[in-house]
């Protein structure tokens, strides 16, 4: 049967695709439990690399630094990106609006090398002319990450703002809320899911960034991707495998929790709608 054949073929392609995606990660996880110091030689099961990982102060301080920068830059990007989105969506028609809207998305497609280099030049010039920021370190990484994260947040939030029914805000104003109260009680709660999505996106992007951070970091401010990358160049340590395994686990758990919450909300909502109409 030809349908049977194509069925088998498409299964094979699907399996191949998934293997291509997940086999490397699987191998990485397996080797994190390898006894041997040589990454490519299996010498029995052990969890000793996890122990060594937690004792490696340089590694742990890089993890801490990355988390701190990711948290702060995601938060700053949500604040600034939301303001940018409001300005773009709500400012009405003005000359060059399309240009500005396009320009805010430019950092999304700009090669990271260029973003990193230009920010480095900016920081150097600023510290020469203004005396601030003094040298480079976690502050400059934070500013750099906020810059490109802000663009992502602005895009996510402005999509949601455009969908928001203006009549809701007018209704609130009609009922006695001034512009500020309308924003706090109506606009913000309704776009909150987009703010959360933007924050999570910014957080992972910041955690992930190697190129830009390498440009604008200074001595004593190495982020996790920088540590991983430089230590791999000196030869892969199984500690990196252990770290990567933990990261994969954390990401998978975060994704699962997000999915579970969304599914629960959706089920709840459907149940409520059904009960409303069954009366």
């Amino acid at each position: 049967m030809s349908t049977n054949k194509t069925n088998k073929l498409s299964w094979a392609i699907l399996l191949g695709g998934f293997a291509f995606l997940y086999l490397p990660i699987f191998i990485l996880i397996v080797y994190s439990f390898n006894e041997s110091r040589l990454v490519t030689v299996w010498a029995g099961f052990s969890t000793k690399w996890y122990g060594e990982l937690f004792e490696d102060e340089q590694m742990m301080s890089a993890v801490w630094m990355s988390l701190k920068i990711a948290f702060l830059s995601a938060s700053a990007a949500v604040a600034l990106g939301t303001l940018a989105a409001i300005a773009l969506v709500r400012s009405g028609a003005f000359k060059g609006k399309t240009l500005f809207t396009g320009m805010i998305t430019a950092p999304l497609v700009m090669p990271e090398v260029i973003t990193g280099l230009s920010l480095l030049l900016l920081f150097v010039t600023m510290s020469q002319v203004l005396g601030w920021p003094e040298g480079r370190g976690s502050l400059t990484i934070w500013i750099a990450h906020t810059t490109f994260n802000m663009a992502y947040v602005a895009v996510v939030v402005s999509a949601r703002l455009r969908e928001l029914d203006r009549r809701l805000e007018e209704a609130a104003m009609d009922l006695g809320a001034n512009k500020f109260q309308v924003f706090i009680y109506i606009t913000l709660p309704i776009v909150a899911p987009a703010l959360l999505a933007g924050w999570l996106l910014a957080f992972t992007l910041s955690l992930d960034d190697l190129v830009i951070a390498s440009f604008v970091s200074g001595p004593g401010s190495t982020t996790l991707p920088m540590v991983v990358f430089s230590s791999v160049r000196l030869g892969v340590s199984p500690k990196i495998n252990a770290l990567a395994t933990l990261l994969v686990l954390a990401v998978a758990m975060a994704a699962f929790i997000a999915w579970w919450f969304m599914r629960r909300n959706e089920l709840q909502r459907q149940k409520e709608i059904r009960s409303a109409f069954s009366q």
């Binding site: 029914d165 009549r167 809701l168 007018e170 209704a171 609130a172 104003m173 009609d174 009922l175 006695g176 809320a177 001034n178 109260q181 009680y185 109506i186 709660p189 309704i190 909502r269 409520e272 709608i273 009960s275 409303a276 109409f277």
Partner: protein
């Protein structure tokens, strides 16, 4: 509900005076002046795009008039922002806050009035009772049906006891059957709380059912204002005659113009049209005569009157339950619509069997059945 207003109750509550709204050279509202009386339900009726919503939004404060003034209860509203106006609006498709329960939606406006907690709770309870939605207080808007959402929206806009209530296409989001029911229900509620109300609709039936007076709007201008019966029976222009209900229009030239009657020579008819009212115009000027389908009679034999009749053939009969519409084609292919109640036993109306397609008939009407229109 076209309750007529006794003269002594007519004190002007809202005065719209020479209001213009110009959108980049396009006059969406063009020199509108209107007086709305205390406690009445006034309907602005007009086709989509005629400027009704723009006028309503100026009353709510969302748009600023380019010129003119809006005076509510003796006070100019021009410099009062929407959140300080004693005006509340029920929005098209309701604009209920999706993240708040029914209760919270209604309490939202009250919280901005600096009322105490118990006072707010009492008021919420009271208006929920008024719209019979008490048992749904804890629900979110998406858990309500269309009619229930509308009642919550009405409750929310009544909770602050506004001096003026605005309704924008109140039935726009409901299906036909629910519409008729809600129209009457809303009117009952509005009359119970005695609020002055301006509503906007493109549905003439809705305006006729709900409003004590209607204003016919067209291209930013109010063409006619009056009680629904007046506007229907005595339209002042072809535009209003054609907009409200269906109408037969005969065009011709004025041939007789006395104080108590007028005559029209019409190309479509072999006899003159005689109207029992005078007109403003001069002999020989073009004029139109409008007569409603239900004011026209139909029979097989020629009527014994010198004017106001025509001979034709039945081309179509639309059966509408209580009545039927006959499409009668005259010699020059003009179609005249005649509406007749189906309860009239045919033998009493005319001789012979029931009328059917291709029958030769005469249509005729009385002197006072229609109106002469010079615009």
């Amino acid at each position: 509900m076209a309750s007529s207003f006794a003269d002594d109750k007519k004190n002007v509550h809202l005065s719209i005076s020479q209001v213009v709204k110009d959108f980049d050279g396009f006059k969406a509202v063009n020199d509108v002046s209107l007086d709305i009386y205390q406690g009445e339900i006034f309907a602005l009726l007009g086709a989509s795009g005629c400027g009704k919503s723009t006028l309503l939004r100026m009353l709510a404060g969302f748009e600023k008039p380019t010129s003119g003034d809006i005076i509510l209860d003796g006070q100019s509203m021009l410099d009062v922002p929407p959140y300080e106006r004693p005006v509340n609006m029920m929005f098209q498709s309701y604009a209920l806050f999706p993240h708040m329960t029914v209760e919270q939606n209604i309490a939202f406006g009250l919280k901005h009035d600096n009322l105490s907690r118990p006072a707010i709770a009492n008021k919420v309870e009271e208006v929920l009772n008024l719209v019979r939605m008490t048992e749904y207080a804890k629900r979110k808007p998406h858990q309500l049906s269309g009619g229930q959402q509308q009642r919550v929206a009405l409750a929310r806009s009544l909770a602050k006891e506004p001096k003026l209530l605005l309704l924008d296409e109140p039935m726009g989001a409901l299906d036909k059957k629910l519409r008729t029911q809600m129209q009457l229900e809303i009117v009952d509620i509005l009359e119970a709380v005695e609020v002055t109300c301006v509503m906007v609709t493109h549905d003439q039936e809705e305006a006729m059912t709900m409003a004590s007076r209607v204003g016919i709007m067209d291209q930013g201008v109010i063409r006619q204002v009056g009680e629904p019966v007046d506007v229907y029976e005595h339209p002042n222009s072809r535009m209003t005659a054609e907009f409200i209900g269906s109408v037969n229009i005969f065009e011709g030239t004025l041939s007789k113009d006395e104080s108590d009657h007028a005559e029209l020579i019409c190309d479509d008819l072999t006899v003159a049209i005689h109207a029992s009212h005078g007109v403003v115009g001069s002999l020989g000027m073009p004029m139109a005569y409008a007569v409603r389908p239900e004011k026209i009679q139909i029979k097989r034999r020629a009527p014994d009157q010198p004017c106001n009749w025509a001979k034709g053939t039945i081309k179509d009969i639309a059966y509408l339950g209580s009545h039927s519409i006959y499409h009668v084609e005259l010699a020059n292919e003009k179609i005249v619509l005649v509406s007749m109640a189906n309860s009239d036993r045919w033998s009493e109306v005319d001789d012979g069997p029931r009328l059917s397609w291709e029958d030769e008939v005469y249509v005729y009407w009385a002197d006072d059945s229609g109106v002469m229109l010079n615009s």
